[in-house]
């Protein structure tokens, strides 16, 4: 067990190292240069560009730049090229904005997918199952931005509440209850939007997983013992059907960053996804690379957690 953890951590650190190199190379090979971002801007005189290049070591060979970048990152000195603000502080601020969206979306996805999928499987071919199938495919195939606009129009027209951004401006004078409700409204719509796609996919997966397990011999054994249908389904079948989801659970973490670019853009939500997207457009390498590095850490951390969880829940995997 301990040796597994040790091995796994070392393995993941090595992977992280390679990820850092590859992502650094990719960013630098991508077309466009930070110093050319806005050649039409009259403030960018050739001297300024030169000074800029010097200041950020862009005149040095790539491996030196790599070293400078990660040295700065680990000592917390990285700054954005755009506004000279410390990158980590900027990311943290955006992270705090993204967090509620992520938490509400994840909770909605994981709490709703399972009941929907399990019920579909247990009443396979029935009206409920067929409607669930229809809506799943509808939500999977409908483009996110299109669905978002329908949802926005619907909510704004029928409830007369503003939903764009994180809060409505100019409400500071109102009672805290009103401000709280305003926040909730702003949070709810993008979260629901983010969750529908997830629920549609995950509930399908839960359904197929449950159906497969229900056909296993040990479920038949459980019935032959004289267990009630509930005990058969929710103890013997479900326990096995849940195993693969433990792996997926570890992969939720990276969703913290990537999952929300479109939604954050549509709703003008000042979160991490949008910041990363804007940084890419602005060729703000420090932000892109830092976000990239953090996502890599989250992915590797997530797989590590799911490996550990798997060992806890599946007796066949013991090390």
């Amino acid at each position: 067990m301990l040796s597994f953890i040790g091995r796994s951590v070392i393995q993941k650190i090595v992977t992280l190292f390679f990820v850092s190199i590859v992502s650094f190379l990719i960013i630098h090979m991508a077309p466009g240069k930070p110093s050319q971002v806005d050649p039409l801007n009259p403030k960018f005189t050739p001297e300024m560009v030169e000074r800029f290049r010097k200041e950020f070591h862009l005149d040095k060979p790539l491996y030196t730049q790599y070293f400078y970048f990660y040295h700065d990152l680990f000592t917390g000195k990285t700054v954005s090229w755009k506004d000279n603000q410390p990158v980590l502080a900027k990311i943290f601020e955006r992270f705090l904005n993204s967090l509620p969206l992520f938490i509400v979306g994840t909770i909605l996805t994981w709490t709703l997918s399972f009941p929907v999928g399990i019920r579909s499987a247990l009443h396979r071919g029935g009206l409920y199952d067929r409607s669930a199938t229809f809506f799943s495919y509808l939500f999977i195939s409908i483009p996110g931005f299109f669905f978002a606009y329908i949802l926005i129009i619907f909510v704004v027209n029928s409830f007369h509440v503003p939903v764009i951004g994180m809060e409505t401006f100019g409400l500071e004078s109102l009672s805290w209850q009103r401000m709280f409700m305003d926040r909730i409204w702003h949070l709810l719509i993008p979260s629901i939007l983010g969750a529908t796609g997830g629920i549609a996919v995950l509930s399908r997966y839960v359904r197929s997983q449950m159906l497969e397990v229900e056909g296993q011999d040990y479920v038949r054994t459980a019935k032959a013992k004289g267990l009630t249908a509930e005990q058969v389904h929710y103890k013997h079948a479900l326990r096995n059907a849940l195993l693969p989801f433990v792996t997926m659970f570890g992969l939720i973490l990276p969703g913290l960053i990537g999952g929300s670019v479109i939604i954050e853009s549509i709703f003008s939500w000042p979160g991490m996804g949008r910041m990363a997207y804007e940084a890419i457009l602005a060729r703000d390498y420090p932000i892109i690379l830092t976000v990239n590095f953090i996502s890599a850490v989250l992915v590797l951390g997530g797989t590590f957690v799911s490996d550990l969880l798997y060992m806890v829940v599946d007796p066949r995997i013991r090390l």
Binding site: Q216, D217, Y218, R220, T221, A222, K223, A224, K225, G226, L227, T228, A229, H236, R239, N240, L243, V313, D314, P315, R316
Partner: protein, 327 residues
């Protein structure tokens, strides 16, 4: 104790029905071992699952018949009543020991669960009972094994656990559906002997399902020979062995390896088992029968009585010396 009458179970298949069980009747008395013998696909497992009330429906459908157990028709029982019968009065051991235990629970948990459903006893007592159950089926060092997960056991050991689980509530009837088919030959003999011992010690009734007539010789009191969803011959074990009347039974016996035939080529029945969706008209065995008459292709004869409860669904009288049949 158990009396199955004219049981018919069909499966829905594309464009019609597959007659998996097509009018099967048999009886099991108290403390008796009854063997149901037949080739693969003749409907043995489907019959067993129907008795247990765990036939998957759909695709299966019980078309008709009765299954009387201690005076009550199991087919008319409500699901809640049936749950009290399952595991408690009738228990089953399955064909597939490797996959029939739940991989995420310890074998102790699974045996104790079987007891807990039907009896109220405290946990310490329960542990003792399940260790004893494992001991009874010859599991080595049961005190340690009880905390093992199924994947830590061999196929033979898993089947022992399945048997321990089936016997945990002292059922009146145990249905063993080819319990040794998936096991190594040496283990097969051990499990078979275990069934024989347990049946004698506990005086329980045993419905032993197999495709192997050689197995039957060791434990059967009564034998039912099944073919294409139908019983073709039934009788006391020695009558079936020493005086087989149905050409199918004789063919099955002839295809058994035996000491006297060692070295010679094994006989095998020509042709193959009919697809239950298209059973032949008349006697279902006629395409493979060496005694088949013209009439056999259109008429399926009824049971002929050979005395002493020995019946066969073929009127052909077998002449032992001549090795030929005649009417």
């Amino acid at each position: 104790m158990l009396s199955v009458k004219d049981l018919k179970v069909y499966f829905q298949v594309d464009g019609g029905f597959s007659r998996a069980v097509d009018g099967v009747s048999f009886e099991i008395q108290d403390g008796e071992t009854v063997c149901l013998v037949g080739e693969s696909g003749c409907g043995k497992s489907v019959s067993a699952l129907t008795i247990m009330g765990i036939l998957p429906q759909p695709p299966g459908k019980i078309i008709g018949g009765t299954i009387f157990f201690k005076g009550q028709d199991l087919l008319l029982m409500k699901e809640e009543e049936m749950q009290k019968v399952r595991g408690n009065h009738i228990a089953m051991v399955f064909q597939e020991p490797m996959t029939s235990l739940n991989p995420v629970f310890t074998i102790g948990d699974q045996i104790e669960e079987a007891i807990r459903i039907h009896e109220r006893i405290d946990e310490a007592e329960m542990r003792k009972r399940s260790i004893q159950a494992l001991k009874d089926v010859g599991m080595p060092s049961p005190e340690q094994r009880i905390n093992d997960y199924p994947h830590q056991l061999s196929g033979g050991q898993r089947q022992r656990v399945m048997i321990a689980m089936a016997l945990a509530c002292n059922p009146d009837l145990v249905i063993a559906d080819e319990p040794t088919t998936a096991l190594d030959v040496t283990v097969q003999a051990q499990i078979l002997n275990l069934f024989k011992d347990l049946q004698q010690k506990r005086r329980m009734s045993l419905l032993y399902i197999t495709h192997d007539l050689g197995v039957v010789a060791k434990i059967a009191d009564q034998i039912y020979v099944m073919y294409a969803g139908i019983i073709l011959e039934k009788g006391a074990a020695r009558d079936i062995f020493y005086n087989p009347c149905h050409p199918y039974t004789r063919a099955l016996l002839a295809s058994l390896p035996s000491r006297s035939k060692r070295g010679s080529k094994l006989y095998s029945i020509p042709g193959s088992v009919p697809d239950p969706a298209h059973t032949p008209k008349g006697c279902p065995f006629h395409p493979r029968c060496s005694f088949a008459l013209e009439s056999c292709t259109s008429q399926f004869p009824g049971m002929s009585d050979w005395g002493n409860g020995h019946f066969s669904r073929c009127p052909v009288i077998y002449d032992k010396e001549a090795g030929k049949g005649g009417n």
